[in-house]
Symmetry: C2
Subunit: 505 residues, 2 copies
């Protein structure tokens, strides 16, 4: 057997994708499991990505008229029961608070342990989502059509007691934003649902370099209680799908359950039309699986924790200070520049470590640009530039001035390159399929891509196919619901609608 080139992450993607994912997270120091079941600790390098996502997404929310607010973590059980479908949808994964203090109890061996005490009259559920508690507030705030629309967003933690967890992609507690809006008319609420969906698609594409398929969920896959769920579906490198963000049109279901009513222009009493939409720390999991390689994390510059790492190469004591000064000066110049309206994020790594060790640490952490400055570069006024989207041994020696002149372009080139790669990969792995036996065979592959098929089946028929092949309809792509008539892959009924099928996280 030929000796394989060693990769910084073991195993490789090809060898064991799920384990590779865990090792990328570990190698980049993004997060770790905690001793709270299914919950992770998000470490600084991972949390910085979330902070960038928050800040950048928040600007889109505010530019479209939304305001942030904060609602209680705990939902009284009686509230939660109001919207039956929603309560049922989350009932199996709710953390329930039943007591409000602890009491020390003496054990037989003389030690004391703490026990729950102060039983509550009514238990509380830790929010798995806040439709009910925010709906109750909306009911208080809405008297007249003049009070509408209500355009509210909340950045918060939520909890869903999942049995099988995976860091970032599925954790019992996660961080997210949840938008909740109430409108006078159905049309306005639909427009809002579509607007936020479009913002998610754009954000994932432009900021995270992740191309998604925007589409509608089938009835079986809708949010409990929604009339329509729009989704953006990302494909990651094992060709599985990840639902990266959803926007729900809730019709009047929640507003009737919670009495969000108002006096309309004609004097009648009406129920508001509501929406909700959210993305979570799951996006970071999607990002890792979409771009990383066998040497570790690859971060798109726009959301990278740090965009440029400057490494002083100081083999000799006599030039050490001068080199470090040059690095700091370069960092200062760079920080005065901006990329998409934000000051460049630059770190000088002055730690007392071997150069190779440092280099590989930043490779594994996915920093988009690494710059080395050594004794020779100091004289020649050059820098050594390495890009994370290129092979790890590729280097460019540039005049410092030239590097500075082009740095924003270089960052954008990396950003664009990641998006192009991910788009090509995805497009190469979505296949049109019009034949049921081809469809059935397709799912025997080890890592099957997505299939797009004409579809006119019922929810039951969808579920039968889904179970059989461990797949789901990821979405009905928005731009492919009105094409040529074709026979549904299962029922043969003529339809203009197309469904995308795939395995998913």
């Amino acid at each position: 057997m030929a000796k394989q080139a060693k990769t910084a992450i073991q195993p490789t993607r090809a060898e064991d994708f799920p384990e590779w994912y865990q090792q990328v997270i570990k190698g980049a120091d993004l997060a770790e499991n905690s001793e709270t079941r299914g919950c992770m600790v998000i470490k600084p390098w991972g949390y910085a990505i979330w902070e960038n996502i928050q800040q950048q997404l928040d600007k889109y929310f505010k530019a479209t008229g939304h305001q942030n607010a904060y609602f209680p973590l705990l939902i009284p059980l009686s509230y939660f029961e109001k919207e039956a479908e929603c309560a049922e949808g989350f009932a199996t994964e709710c953390a329930v608070v039943t007591h409000h203090r602890l009491e020390a109890t003496k054990q037989e061996d003389g030690s004391t342990t703490m026990e729950p005490a102060g039983k509550l009259n009514e238990p509380y559920v830790i929010r798995p989502t806040s439709e009910t508690v925010i709906g109750a507030a909306f009911a208080r705030w809405t008297e007249s059509y003049r009070d509408l629309p209500l355009l509210i967003n909340q950045w918060a933690n939520v909890m869903r007691w999942e049995m099988r967890t995976r860091m970032f992609l599925r954790t019992a507690e996660f961080l997210w934003q949840e938008g909740h809006t109430a409108h006078e008319t159905k049309e306005e609420a639909l427009e809002e649902t579509r607007q936020m969906h479009a913002i998610y698609e754009k954000f994932l594409r432009e900021h995270l370099a992740i191309p998604t398929i925007p589409g509608e969920k089938s009835e079986a896959e809708r949010f409990p209680g929604a009339d329509m769920t729009l989704t953006v579906e990302a494909m990651v490198q094992d060709k599985k799908a990840i639902q990266a963000g959803t926007s729900h049109f809730l019709g009047q279901n929640f507003s009737k359950a919670q009495d969000i009513s108002f006096t309309a222009r004609d004097g009648s009493t009406q129920h508001a039309w509501t929406t909700s939409w959210g993305v979570s720390t799951r996006m970071i999991g999607t990002l890792i699986m979409a771009h990383s390689d066998d040497d570790g994390l690859v971060l798109p510059p726009r959301i990278a924790s740090q965009q440029i790492i400057i490494i002083p190469v100081t083999p000799k004591e006599d030039t050490r200070d001068a080199i470090i000064d040059a690095c700091e000066a370069l960092a200062k110049t760079l920080r005065a520049k901006s990329f998409h309206g934000e000051p460049l994020r630059v770190l000088v790594d002055k730690r007392d470590l071997r150069g190779g060790e440092k280099k590989w640490e930043w490779v594994k952490k996915g920093a988009p640009i690494r710059i080395e400055i050594g004794p020779r570069d100091l004289e020649s006024r050059k820098v050594c530039l390495q890009r994370r989207d290129q092979a790890s041994n590729e280097k460019a020696f540039l005049e410092k001035e030239e590097f500075l002149r082009n740095v924003e372009d270089t960052l954008q080139a990396i950003q664009d390159n990641l998006l192009t790669r991910a788009t090509q990969f995805r497009d190469a792995n979505i296949t049109e399929c019009n034949d049921l036996s081809d469809f059935e065979k397709h799912w025997n592959a080890e890592q099957p891509g997505w299939l797009i098929t004409p579809w006119a089946g019922s929810t039951e028929e969808e579920e039968t196919l889904s179970k059989k092949h461990k797949i789901t309809i990821r979405c009905l792509p928005l731009d492919q619901q009105d094409g040529e008539q074709a026979p549904c892959i299962l029922t043969g009924a003529l339809t203009k609608a197309r469904a995308i099928w795939g395995r998913s996280y």
Copy 2:
């Protein structure tokens, strides 16, 4: 009886301070009570203040080398028990999660209700503070002295099941930041504790226009498990004290309980020295009580949700569009300016409401500057300026260019004016007291100010005095622990130490 001038807030501060506080919050639309016991909904105008506090404080944290991270909401009971003093301190106010799902139960009347199901082997406590869970992570992360210091901050929600709540000042759930650090030496940890304390003092003074007394807590008032607690104590308008932020030196208490140990430079195994420090949404309550008046909220410009409200005055249809255009143009020009490095926050209130109604809404909401532009102003290129820190009928007619030229100065003048007022009020209400009978009499006043006394009493003696007069030692002011020898007000023992006493929220 002479007819009183009507105020926008009823009752006035003099009539009923606690009720005035509730009405200011309501009038400014900052927050409201929810149906989750002791928890509030923070509404957009209130939440924007928190967002500004977060962003501005976060810059200080990052500039001093701290990084943000995120830790689990739920703490296993066994963790929580590890630091006995801390567990005991919070045991009476813990929300406890005991179940992880809900089950529908059929009732006798045919309806179904949801009941907690899926009992957990080990209950979880919703974090009242995260020393234990972050300490467990620190123990994993610390092997060698090279891994230190760890300088971590978390922005999060926490829960303390308080029996008596008051919006912002004391709620069962609140938002805060909690810094947690681990150091190689005692000196470094002490230095960190003092540094963060100084940042809080500066932040409150410069950003919130609240002068505080920085000092040390007496042993009785320390954080459970701390060796030293530093505090910044604010005085609000009923002369009560509010602990606005604390910084704790935890010694090796938590690191020993949780085994945060490392190999030291000399090869020996040592326990780290840890600190923690935090401020919360309580600061917003402090802010309201410190600056607001009988017409409602008064916001310091640096943290105001909006700094400038522009109100188009459009009595006639034919000039309406031109006036609104002028307002929008002015807003655009203002938004391109900045105040302390942030773009000006400006809102044009185009709603179809009567001018007086609008004006009073913004008075109650505490917007620092209101600008009106009407038909005449359009011709004369003037604006009508009103400042929230001046009487509500005071107006200045300024050339638009002059207003624009000076707007940052005007905002700073308002900021400075609020700080000066609050400082004068506080200084006028702290009295030196060297005589026990004066001391005892002082607390009979309806709204007694603070007393500063020589103090060398024991914890028991302090608690006796505290109980008798419903007061506490707010702090031992840092700059007054080494003055003239004087006899302790209670024991008569000669001491250089001084204590500040007061009633508090």
